[in-house]
Symmetry: D2
Subunit: 256 residues, 4 copies
C-alpha cells in the first residue's frame, strides 16, 4: 500500500505579523504540523499556504492529496470561492479533510457543514482536559482516557455544527465550559474530522499527544477505494431499469 | 398552544406550462399540499410561490413561519441567493424545513446539507413501496409497516446527503433500486425532513397516506422553544469565565 | 388527545434507611418526581416501588403506562428478571423509558443498551453545569444555554453506553470531568432517555429546571402510534411475496 | 504491524445433517468463510464450532482473537450463557464481532443490541441487489455501486435493531422488500458489523464480492489500541478530583 499523501494548509499570517506567534512557530504552524506527521513513515507530507498562487491548492495538488489539513483564522475571507469549491469537490470525491481549531470558521468547513460553525470562545490561558468518549475509535489510538493542555483558548458549546457521525473527544475547560472537540462527519465519499486544540499563541502542535491524534486522524480520513463518487457532473438518469418493467404508459405527456 | 404556522412553497411552473401537470394539479402543487395540511385543525397554512415578489418569502413571512415546505424542480437556479440565505438563517434560528421530492436539488437544501444531494433517477411509471424503518418515530404516526405508490418516478441510491440523524423510510422500486426516502437532520435550532414521493406527473399529494406523513413531519419539525440560537450575528466572545480562573499571564503579546 | 400516563418507579430504600435522605425526600424520591410531573395537566402520574408486589409493575400497570421513569441505586439486583423482561417487551412495543441518575446501572437499562453502562464517579459535593448541545431538541424546551447544580455527585466519561441517537446535554464538573448527561436512544418502537442529575443526598428533583427536563422527556418519550411492533412473538415468515416471483426451483431439498 | 487474528465461528449443524447443505459447504460454512479470509495475507485465521468443548471459544482463544465472525441458525439456544457472557466481555474490551446472516438471532448479537433483532423473512430463491449507501466507508472498499446475489433468502424490514452508527448497505429484494443489510455499531471498545447475505442453501460465501466485504469488515472491526476498556470489573470510584475542590461539607451523613 502506498503512502498517504497529506497536504498541510496554513493561512500563515499570524506567524509573519506577530512576534509572539513567530516565537512559537518560527517556520509557521504548517511546518510544526508537517513535522509531526513526518515522524510517521506511512505519511508523505507537503505544505501549502494562503499567499501562494491559488493558495497552493491547484487542481494538480489536490488530485495528489489524500488528506488535507486546514488551519486558518484571521483571513478566512481571503480564500477564493473558486478554491473552496475545488476543495469541496475533492472532499466529495473522497479526499479527507481535517479542520483544525479556528478552521471551524473557514469557508470550506462551513460549506461542508451547512451551518454557522460558531461557538463561544475566551482567551484566558485556561486549562483544557480532553476526554475520550469513543475509546474504540481509530482516532483515539495510543491515547489514555484523557489528556491535558495546560494553557488553551476556550471554545465552548453550543457548537453550531451538525450532530457528528462519530464523537471522539469532549473537552473540559477550567472556566466552566465544555466542547465537542473531536468529531467526525462523512460528506460524499470524503471523511471530515474537526479537532479543536491548536491556538497560534500556544505551542500545542509540538505536543506528542496532539501529534498522535493528527496522525490517527489522517489515517482515518484517507480514501478507502469504495465505489467512485458518481455526481461530480450531475445526477444520473438511469433510464435502463435493473429489473424488467411493464411497458410505460403511452397515453400522457412527458414533462421531464 | 397556538397553531403551527406552515408556509407551503412551490415553484409553480410545471402546472402553468404543461397540460398534463395542470390536469393533475389545476391550482398548483402547493394548493394540493396545503389542502392536505388544512385537514388538520392544529395547522395554519399559507402558500408562497417563485414568481411572487421575493418568491413570497419576505422576512415578515418567514418570521411568521414555523415550518416551511419546499417543492421545486426546473427553476432551482431562479431562486435568489438572498432569499436562500434568509431561509437558511431562519432554519438555524429554529424554523422547520420539509424538502419534497425534487426539492433535493434546491439551493436551500443543498446549502444546508453541504453536498450535491444528487441521486439516480428514472421516469418509468414504476411501483414504489415505502417501508418504515423507525416505527417509533413521530413521522411514522398512523402508518402501517409499508405503503405503496402505484406509479412513481424512481429515485435511487447513492443519495449524496449526510448520513441522516434519523432514517424513517426506505423505498423499494420495481426497477431494482432502493432509496432512503424519509430522513431527518438538525441544523442549528432547526429540524429538516426530506420526503421523496411527489412527482408533478403523479397525483401523489392527494394520497391520504402521503398527507398523513406531511402533517406528521410538520408537527415534528415545528420549533420547540429551546435556548435561542445565539449566532445569527457572530460567534460569542464570553470574556467572563463561569468559574474563577487564575490571573492571565501578563508577559505576552495578545494576538486575538 | 388523551393524557400521557406516567409511572414513576423508585427503589425507595435509601429514604427509609438513611435519615439524611429522608430529610430531603420524606415521601420518597418518587413522590418528588411525581409532584413535579403533576404540575403539568397533560400528564397523568402514578408511582410504583420495589417492595410492592411485582415491584408495582404488573402487566396491567405496564399496559396502562405510556412512559416509565426509573430510579434505583443500591438494590438493582433485587429487581426480578421476570419484571425486567416484561418492561423490556413494553419498551420494544412502544412505552417510553426514562432512566434517572444511578438508574444507569439498573438491569433494564443495561439490558436495553447491551453494555456495562459503567462510568467514573465521585461524591464530593461539587458543582455541575449542564450544557445544551442540541438546542432544537424537544427535551431542551424552555431551557437556557446551560443550567447549574450547586452540589452534585460527579459522573464522568467514559460512559459505557452505545453512541446516543441524539445527545442533548453534556455536563461540566468542578473536579475536572465531563459527562454526556442527557441522551436519547430508540429500541424497537420505544424511546429511551437517560438523565444524569439526581442523587439521593441532594434536593435536585425539586429544582424547577430539572422538573422541566423531566416533563419534556416524558412528552418526547411517549408512544407515537406508528406501525405496531411486530415481533413480540417471533420473527415473521412472510411467505407471500409482495411482488410476483418466478416459480421456486423444485430441484433441491428445503432446509428451513 | 502484526496480522489481524480472526476466529471464524460456525454452528456447523446444517452441513452435517442436510445433504443439500453439505453439497454446497462440504467442510462447513466456517471453512468457506475462512478460505476467503485466508486469501488476505494480513489476516491470520482459525475456526471454532458449536460442538467443540466450550464451543471452541475458551478464554484463551478469545484472548488471542482480534475479530470473531459468527454464523448460527438452528441451535442458537444451545450456545451456553457463560460463553456468551465471555464473548460480550471481549467485545466490550475491544474485540471486533461480525454477525452473519441468521446470526441476527444469536444470543450474543441480541445481547449486544438489546432488542429482538427480528425481521421478516422468506425462502423463495429471489434476487437480492445490495446497494452501497456509504461509499466512503472502509467496508465498501473495492466494491461497485451495487452487487447482486441471484438467489437468496429474503430478509425484510422492519429489522428490530438499534439505529446503526453507520449504515453501509441496503438490500433490494425481488419480492418487494428492502433491508438494512450492512450496518455498524460500537459497544464499549468493540466494533460490531452485521452482514445479511449468506444462507446455508446458497453458495454465497464463495462469491468474491462477499469475500471482499468480509475481509473489509474484519479490518474495520479490528481493535485500534485506544484507552483500555476500564469497566471489566466495575465502575470506577475516582475519589481524587483532577482539579482542586473546596472542602467537602462535614455536616451530613454519607450514604454511598
Amino acid at each position: 500500500m502506498g503512502k498517504i499523501r497529506v497536504t498541510v494548509w496554513n493561512e500563515y499570517r499570524h506567524e509573519r505579523e506577530h512576534d509572539a506567534v513567530a516565537a512559537i512557530y518560527p517556520h509557521g504552524i504548517h511546518e510544526a504540523i508537517a513535522a509531526g506527521l513526518r515522524e510517521h513513515p506511512d505519511l508523505q507530507v507537503r505544505t501549502a499556504t494562503l499567499d501562494e498562487p491559488e493558495h497552493g491548492l491547484t487542481q494538480a495538488v489536490l488530485d495528489e492529496t489524500d488528506v488535507l489539513t486546514w488551519w486558518g483564522h484571521k483571513a478566512h475571507g481571503e480564500v477564493s470561492d473558486e478554491v473552496v469549491a475545488r476543495v469541496q469537490r475533492r472532499v466529495l470525491a473522497g479526499m479527507g479533510l481535517i479542520a483544525l481549531h479556528s478552521g471551524h470558521h473557514s469557508k470550506i468547513f462551513k460549506k461542508l457543514m451547512g451551518t454557522t460553525c460558531s461557538l463561544r470562545w475566551r482567551e484566558a490561558d485556561e486549562r483544557e482536559r480532553v476526554w475520550v468518549v469513543s475509546p474504540g475509535h481509530p482516532i483515539a489510538a495510543g491515547l489514555d482516557a484523557h489528556f491535558e493542555i495546560q494553557e488553551a483558548e476556550m471554545y465552548g458549546e453550543f457548537f453550531d455544527v451538525p450532530a457528528p457521525d462519530e464523537l471522539v473527544f469532549v473537552s473540559w475547560f477550567q472556566g466552566g465550559n465544555v466542547f465537542r472537540s473531536g468529531a467526525c462527519w462523512r460528506r460524499g465519499n470524503g471523511k471530515i474530522f474537526y479537532f479543536r486544540p491548536g491556538h497560534e499563541t500556544y505551542p500545542i502542535y509540538y505536543m506528542p499527544v496532539v501529534r498522535q491524534v493528527l496522525a490517527n486522524a489522517v489515517r482515518w480520513a484517507a480514501p478507502t477505494n469504495g465505489p467512485a463518487f458518481p455526481y461530480l457532473a450531475d445526477a444520473i438518469n438511469e433510464t435502463e431499469p435493473l429489473e424488467p418493467l411493464p411497458e410505460k404508459r403511452g397515453d400522457r405527456e412527458r414533462v421531464g
